[in-house]
Symmetry: D2
Amino acid sequence: MKTLKRIAILTGGGDCPGLNAVIRSIAKPAMAYFGATVIGIEDGFEGLVEGRHRDLSYRDVSGILHLGGTILGTSNKGDPFHFPVVTPSGIEVQDCSSRAIDHYNDLNLDALFAIGGDGTMHIVDKFSDMGLNFIGVPKTIDNDLASTDVTFGYDSALSVATEAIDRLQTTASAHHRVMVVEVMGRYAGWIALGAGLAGGADVILIPEIPFHWNKVFEFVQERSRRGGRFSIVCVAEGAKPADGDIVVKEKDVRRTDPVRLGGIGELVGKKITEATGLETRVTVLGHLQRGGSPTPYDRILATKYGSMALQLATEGKFGYMVSLRGTDVIGVPVKQAIMKLRTVPPDSQLVLAARAVGTSFGD
Amino acid sequence: MKTLKRIAILTGGGDCPGLNAVIRSIAKPAMAYFGATVIGIEDGFEGLVEGRHRDLSYRDVSGILHLGGTILGTSNKGDPFHFPVVTPSGIEVQDCSSRAIDHYNDLNLDALFAIGGDGTMHIVDKFSDMGLNFIGVPKTIDNDLASTDVTFGYDSALSVATEAIDRLQTTASAHHRVMVVEVMGRYAGWIALGAGLAGGADVILIPEIPFHWNKVFEFVQERSRRGGRFSIVCVAEGAKPADGDIVVKEKDVRRTDPVRLGGIGELVGKKITEATGLETRVTVLGHLQRGGSPTPYDRILATKYGSMALQLATEGKFGYMVSLRGTDVIGVPVKQAIMKLRTVPPDSQLVLAARAVGTSFGD
Amino acid sequence: MKTLKRIAILTGGGDCPGLNAVIRSIAKPAMAYFGATVIGIEDGFEGLVEGRHRDLSYRDVSGILHLGGTILGTSNKGDPFHFPVVTPSGIEVQDCSSRAIDHYNDLNLDALFAIGGDGTMHIVDKFSDMGLNFIGVPKTIDNDLASTDVTFGYDSALSVATEAIDRLQTTASAHHRVMVVEVMGRYAGWIALGAGLAGGADVILIPEIPFHWNKVFEFVQERSRRGGRFSIVCVAEGAKPADGDIVVKEKDVRRTDPVRLGGIGELVGKKITEATGLETRVTVLGHLQRGGSPTPYDRILATKYGSMALQLATEGKFGYMVSLRGTDVIGVPVKQAIMKLRTVPPDSQLVLAARAVGTSFGD
Amino acid sequence: MKTLKRIAILTGGGDCPGLNAVIRSIAKPAMAYFGATVIGIEDGFEGLVEGRHRDLSYRDVSGILHLGGTILGTSNKGDPFHFPVVTPSGIEVQDCSSRAIDHYNDLNLDALFAIGGDGTMHIVDKFSDMGLNFIGVPKTIDNDLASTDVTFGYDSALSVATEAIDRLQTTASAHHRVMVVEVMGRYAGWIALGAGLAGGADVILIPEIPFHWNKVFEFVQERSRRGGRFSIVCVAEGAKPADGDIVVKEKDVRRTDPVRLGGIGELVGKKITEATGLETRVTVLGHLQRGGSPTPYDRILATKYGSMALQLATEGKFGYMVSLRGTDVIGVPVKQAIMKLRTVPPDSQLVLAARAVGTSFGD
């Protein structure tokens, strides 16, 4: 077993409930059992490139288990291999990996733990190939990482989205309305599917099952005709119709303009109103899904992840990431893990269970 | 004391947590102590005009105290004096009050309890002037009714909005972002002020205090400059700049198109990004604020309201509505109550307290 | 595929969040796809013995997904093979299975779905051996069923217990107190372990790891000595000291007297105070852990369970129960499933992760 | 207006959600507008006697608005006039007020803000009479302070208690049980009354309305006889029967033994079971009611309190405390405020509203 004297931790990509639980469960035992110095890199890989970091004390990593966000900060634009640099002619994307490596070397680390999504895992892979002692800890709200059954953050996002649907049911029912809820999931429909199933949504639209506008309209209208007081439509951010490209254009607007709210949710709402005449309201949950305290499930999973990540480091398994398989957390080579996205299989039990209770996928 | 043999209840206007608690606290004692028949008018005044109603059993009004929405349904377009009627030449607004009165008379009622907002209270007033036995119970999420200190629904909306701000703080902090939250309040800023204060928002923008764009930009930038990791801006739906009419135009879009999400929140987000270069994200809480189970505060207030409304009926005080004054619920003539809106006094203790802890109102 | 024309559902044993979600996901597709008559047996096997049941309508099983408890009622004392019967000489336990079978036959059922814990699964096994078309759906708050990775109800109980620990931390810290929380788990420590880990408890006492009083005292005192403002001790109902049988006696009191609150939690509190002089407070969560709305995780799992249970019936796999393996719900013979209890392996990842972050198990 | 250069804050008595919100709203403006040094006295008056305190930075009082507990610590045994001192012959209660005054003088304070309950207000009064610049800020979970309509902490406790009752309803219903919930309130029944009303309890027992055992038994039995699936009995800690002194004795046990759980709740449960034969379960909420994040209502009230307390200090109104009257926070002389307890008037609107919806008070 390798002894760890100096380790560093960073959090990359979008934030997600459970990051602090991972930090704590790496740092606490490293301090207690190895007497290790634990360094917090600030704002993800951005901080590694720019040399921003601080030593973490035991106190810094205590009492953070239940906190959302990340005490280290994070950044979406911190890929060292494609790093935005201010130049006389404007912002230019450059390969700044050597700066990151220099800082890594300066810190004289036995291991660096990078907690992040697919992008972060790619960077972990590259630096590992260069011989740096990187360990990956996967996180994603969207639950779309291929080599782990579930990642922390997903259950918390599900909890927020389901609570929102629960709330909307009462007001939808009072007004005989169609309520459209747009949830996260650009490429994978796990949140829409999970929250839709848990919240009892009548229609669930996900990227993996392209929908037909008419099927949606008919389903909603049929419910109304048969005396249903309301319908709930749960739409993943990346849901797309089988019969038209309108959405793509709409989404482009939002991509280039992050404060623009409209998107597929708004479009679905608008078209349902036009086609059926039913009163429709749209809610976009957005960043609410990332915020707040992690659920117990996520706190536990995150703690197991951190614990196993530390163990991988003591075994010298660099270039590995932790992964949940069934009820066990194991280590897998990052290289295998980043091959593909984990999307919702259209014939998965979850989809079939949803269909069985009467949910339409608009297909 | 007047004995009540037949009474009816309706809920009008936008739904709001606590409506069912009022229904229960009128219906249960009416049944238990007077053996009264209690009739539920469906979908507000729309149901009175169209003669849609049903008898309520003790079971119907049991177990509903904690439910959001309204078991009777409601409608925003049910003013009998300006009622939308389908005619050969399209939808036409007509005075259908005589149809409402006919149905009222057919039901042979000792009292009709109308639970609703300002619009509903106006209708109560008109029918009372015509000699009908109407009692008003005020409700409004926005808390903007002049003749009651607080109405039920407000505390629940506050609770949703504050929880949202709590959530957004963690994700804002992780990313060094400015988070803009748009909450309800078209004419009065009570929700924005309350939730902003309770959630520790850095900037609160309300209709009563027109804001200056530059003041907002400077405040947010100054916080960032001094190392603040993030700023929270809580904006009432009806907030407006002192220096420009842009918002009004934006809002018109939403008014005519109910599924359109953008509005003042989006505008504030866009302009902050442009002016300061800070990363900004926008969340519009919308219908989440109406939904879900009422808070204990609202359940209690709603129960006291229903209880007093029934008492007013036994005293023959028709044309009255219930009202909270300090810790007591009393009856006041509806006519006095509908005179004016209850907006936030710019020098109220709440505003001063918010300023004292460092909140900017952009003025 | 077997067509199901008449099916029945019952819920046995202690209630648990998610029961209604299972009922719904069996009944809805049975009605929609087979046009089946769905009969609800009341109060578990008690209702089967006594012939109490009612037909369920589509409406009865709609809108119940998020409700805790069970719309069918349940009973702890309904084993048909050991049924309490009132006789002239008092209550006598008799074999009433033939009465249950008679009622089963009268109902002319294609399948009977029994949702319950270990006791219920034993009864399912016995009736299946007699040729009755029983399908089992396992539920247990305690998570102690051997043949399924997790059962619904556990995540909800965890959520309540973790929230309670979160709450107690603030008050413990304000007063420099030791807070003892007793949670459910008579034979298995899953809730104590999960909630203790998720809530950041300092000491976790579970039945699987007998604890030493002195180790607990020393740990708590050492924390206080090093400036820790408080300690949280999370105790499973069935935790027991390695060095003494005192607890057993205390627990007997509660067993015979269900309203008696004191138990291992109180004992731990008392002894810590005596031994360390630290101010200690005890909270027993009790029935709070069973109540309330199921978490999204439990709603989804319960829905998948119901869905698969129905499929097992269409395949004629009677004597089977549903079971979670990894991410899949499968069918397993009940006979295999009831062999043993699923207790916490003392060297499981969960225990090791807890130890790694500094938790003491008092051993 | 007096300028404040050095101020101190302490929190005394049992902790309560909102304490940190008060601290923040005194300290932040004092720092920002007066450049004042703000000193935090540790663990209430205990810290004043023992000279334990620390300077608070702006950072210390930021981000604490939503935190339960108190960052300053508190103590139940810190009355300087009756202070427990370790002497050779054991612990002895002595007058240590001169030590407190010495420390007060050493700190050279312009004002000291004491946040606490009735006991704290008495101490504020005594020190004010001696010419010290004390300002009182009342807090009490129990809501039993006479000179303020409501205090912060109450709404949060109500929220916890109501949520618990909501939870217990589902499990009570599943099992046809009587659920007894004991809530706080030794001398005043506000929590039991409020949570009982908000949670729809069937029986509410409070100190102000002595109950008759038979009335309770009959009411519960009658409900069961008429097909009610369950009953919820909400009991204040200090509830007492009109016909017997048994409770007092039981309660004494708990008073002298703080980890002893049984009390009036357990007694009520035991006696209902004995008298009616109905299955009964007891839950004691205890410290859960103090913990966790304050509700928006309490955060707002606490902020207004702190704000007004600071203003009183600038006006030189020492010996005053803040107080809520209607919707305004004002200053009142502490001396007037400590005269009497604010108990529930048996003919208050709240009691009448509860009776109207069918609640029994056992009288």
